[in-house]
Symmetry: C2
Subunit: 472 residues, 2 copies
Amino acid sequence: MSAPTKPAPAAALLADLRAALPAGLVLDDEETVLAHREDAAPFGEAGRAAAVVSPTTVEQVQAVVRACAAHRVPIVPQGSRTGLAGGGNAIEGGVVLSLLKMDRVLEIDKANRLVRCEPGVRTAELAKAVAEQGLFYPPDPASWETCTIGGNIATGAGGLCCVKYGVTADYVMGLSVVLADGELVKVGRRTVKCVAGYDLTHLFVGSEGTLGVIVEATLALRPPHGEALALLATFPSATAAGAAVGGITEAGHTPSALELLDRRTSEAIAELGHPLLPPGAAATLIVASDAPDAAARIKEMAALCEQAGALAATAAENAEQAHEILEARRLVLPALTEQAKKMPGEIASFVEDVAVPRAQLAVLIDRIDDIAEQYGLYVSTIGHAGDGNLHPSVIFDKTDPDAMRRAREAYDAIMAAALELGGTITGEHGVGTLKREWLARELEPRELRLQQDVKRALDPEGLFNPGKVLAA
Amino acid sequence: MSAPTKPAPAAALLADLRAALPAGLVLDDEETVLAHREDAAPFGEAGRAAAVVSPTTVEQVQAVVRACAAHRVPIVPQGSRTGLAGGGNAIEGGVVLSLLKMDRVLEIDKANRLVRCEPGVRTAELAKAVAEQGLFYPPDPASWETCTIGGNIATGAGGLCCVKYGVTADYVMGLSVVLADGELVKVGRRTVKCVAGYDLTHLFVGSEGTLGVIVEATLALRPPHGEALALLATFPSATAAGAAVGGITEAGHTPSALELLDRRTSEAIAELGHPLLPPGAAATLIVASDAPDAAARIKEMAALCEQAGALAATAAENAEQAHEILEARRLVLPALTEQAKKMPGEIASFVEDVAVPRAQLAVLIDRIDDIAEQYGLYVSTIGHAGDGNLHPSVIFDKTDPDAMRRAREAYDAIMAAALELGGTITGEHGVGTLKREWLARELEPRELRLQQDVKRALDPEGLFNPGKVLAA
């Protein structure tokens, strides 16, 4: 039901959209519109969409883009709204273009180790489909059961195994994209190598829906990896854990996961009674290897942890022990949920996503500790240590305006610290609306202008997701 | 000495360049200008430059760009002219901007596994410098002793070990680039992950000097690899060799080299008396592995070659045997030189660079054989088989106009065949002037327009290398 007070352009747009798409694919009822308002980011800068459209074909996407262009109504491409920067948030009076109904795996090409799929397929489903053919799609964002390949590409998503296997961008070979004039382009390739013209494929990767609508992707695959072994080491300080990460890297190891838990996270998991996490550790490292010589590698890395001053380092000798170690990483969310239950008020959390050169990891962790103390907040940090990528969670009572203010200031202070250490405001979550102002601090003015020039070249009227990544 | 007949604008430009740069860095004598006229591509579409400038600092590059912009004189950035597509060829009346004097390795950061360098450093020198610190820079174009990192980035160069380690683009983390307005931008990052804004870094990679002048690069490094073992297998047909490549890939191996020699190349090396290459093979595969379990891998891959119908498959059991096998690959150029000596006239060769989806490899080899026969030419093909990337060399008498015409037509026919098989006109050499018309055949019209939009956004006046990659 469209609201009676809706301005005329929206009604005309809706009529055009309904004429172009089959019945039921254009919705503007309150419930649907509100359900598609926000992704999973905090501080929601979001508006009420005029409609949510869910095309099932490329031609329908083109029709939607043409109708919106004709009415000068902005389009927000949207997946499953697991994004953490507001990139998928609706825009007031705009159209939410949900890609969730375009969720087919179109082709698995075993000989060429690639998969072709629509944007709405869930990451875990894609990984499962290719695994059934004996292949491996590595990128594993935390939300991989829910998030979509289109969203992963749009945000340039990472995950745990990036430290060995790289990020989503490293797997995107080609894309089909609907441009602002409604035309379809196929960029990229099916060959392993190609240098024919500018690399437009990677311009779309991480562009958060601001340059076009991704309607198909060709992704590279890998051979399956071996059974992973793992080790868990506890440390008396973040500095010692950082030294262990440095030692592992410098010794030339390529672990398939190299995860760090700070003091608060280690304590929270210890409280759940994990046998390998006694109370008192200031930092924990969980390291996995799926190399052919994993057992030897794990032993060597455990020794390097001890050399760096570990309180204890336990190396798994079989799959069962490895499972117990990796379980500690999986307990992060339940453990923090338990902690939150002890706090007063209505608990909310902001997950940060800063990255620094690997060698600055321990310094950043200490800075985050200082920030938590300064603002009187509970901040627990986990991180993809091998990538220098940290996710501090600021946990606070959202009914307390002062706590909200402090949480927000702490969030900013963490980004400032990352930039100061030669890092970035976002390693794998994206800019969206949340970090738009911060992007202008990370990039020098000339680069920011260059980014805007590129946006204008591809989307001169600002049709696609205006105000995301860059100011509208 | 400037030629007396040179038009006035060139004189004014030269005066400005000489005012901006130290003495001796701006040359316009006949010898220097002619020496910088062409890269290593055949069919040279090249002009006579007004001057060759060789700045030693970023500020000098900026001064050159500003002077040329003021005089509306095009700039051709140039490295060591080993390019194979004419991207580095001089433009009539333009300025050649040689980066060879900016050849410093600025920083090797072991903890963060990265190197920062100027564009003029030779690839082999960079690889050596990082190896001395226990690190590994994989990209290994054939010309790596001579070619520069700047040229590698500009062309998106590949090499032998790409099949396991990826191409130059995969190692570029950040760039400093002088833009058309003379301003310097730093794009990219020093962190392993970063999704802050559009990926402009990879827009410059492979842009062949048409979007800006790369004055610094930050490159990712790897831990050193193990000692490589190798196998050599001969086959009764290209199809059988192609089946072996497919079998190796499907079984999940990641060899560090997977090179194919066609019948003519195999015969030429056999004639030099290589013990593992008896006459009569229609195709040869040379496979290397530097995995921790290389010995087992090599044995398994040798067995897969036999299953695919190999005439013989010899697996090295030690470094010495591996060296003998890899020597066969190194003998390609000497062997073909010997063959050329037997031919009448003045011999020239065109090296092609097509790539197809891996599974189409054998089909493409057979097509190339047909093309050679059809045009009555000697064509020998080697290829990075694991990447589906082939380099057929068309060898002919350049004093014979008819042979020249046939060679040119065969060159075109090979590209047409690659496109027909779902491939690309260039896997790792680039477009330059040589394949500019062919790029327009590979890309659909809308993508070509998009490429032109990007060029215009970054270089609105067409200052940088006009007519390369895209029509001016």
